[in-house]
């Protein structure tokens, strides 16, 4: 089954990104395809490569980037949400790309399921 994911919150402050990550991992283990994760609202902060958690804490920016590359997941950061929050190419973690809201609608159209994680 093809699954799309929408993440509305950044790492750390809300559990949304953690939950989405664990869900995506489990979906892949179950043999599903996670085709795209769309980062909206504060979710755009998941792509900030300057993020430097304490060494004994999880690093979601890194985790998403690795999961995306290993499984061909399209990690899309909403350009409108990102611009106002100051997430731009110069701080964008590799594995993510910046694009428009149409990519979210497309994820809804092209996947069998869309699962939303937020506040």
């Amino acid at each position: 089954m093809k699954i799309g994911i929408l993440v509305n919150e950044g790492p750390f402050t809300h559990q949304a990104s953690d939950s989405a990550y664990r869900f995506a991992e489990a979906a892949i283990v179950r043999g599903h395809e996670v085709s795209r994760v769309f980062f909206y609202n504060d979710g755009v902060f998941n792509a900030n490569k300057l993020s430097e958690p304490q060494t004994d804490d999880r690093n979601l920016v890194q985790l998403w980037s690795e999961l995306g590359k290993a499984n061909g997941i399209d990690l899309v950061v909403c350009i409108a949400a990102a611009l106002r929050r100051g997430i731009k190419e110069e701080v964008l973690k590799d594995g993510f790309r910046i694009s428009g809201l149409g990519q979210l609608v497309e994820a809804g159209i092209e996947n069998d399921r869309l699962v939303v994680f937020g506040d």
């Binding site: 929408l6 909206y40 149409g102 497309e106 809804g108 159209i109 869309l114 939303v116």
Partner: protein, 129 residues
Amino acid sequence: MEPWEEEGPEVVKRFMYVNRKAPYGTIYALECLEVVLIAAAFDQDVSVVFVDDGVCQLKKNQDTAAIGMKNFSNTYRALDDYDVEKIYVEKESLEERGLSAEDLIIPVEVVAAGNLREIMAQQDVVISS
């Protein structure tokens, strides 16, 4: 195989955008509206629902001059221009807040919770913010 897959290349899905949050206190109302306006261009079956504090997004006479934030309430009027016509407001949420359809900035369909249950259960994709 899902029902729409039988329709060939022109897939039309029923998309529902659910608003449960008041405007200005958080950005979710505004950023959801931005999604809906984009979604309107995709030739899908779009509906927008307002329940709980989400109904406050449509209150008339919003004036944000003194809080310095952008008043985006007029943008709801653009939904009609974009052919987004299925706009549902839950009756119970309105009444709980002492509001009625006349207090809202755009014409909407006021539906009782029982009917909204049915409408929600007919969607293919539900996006909340």
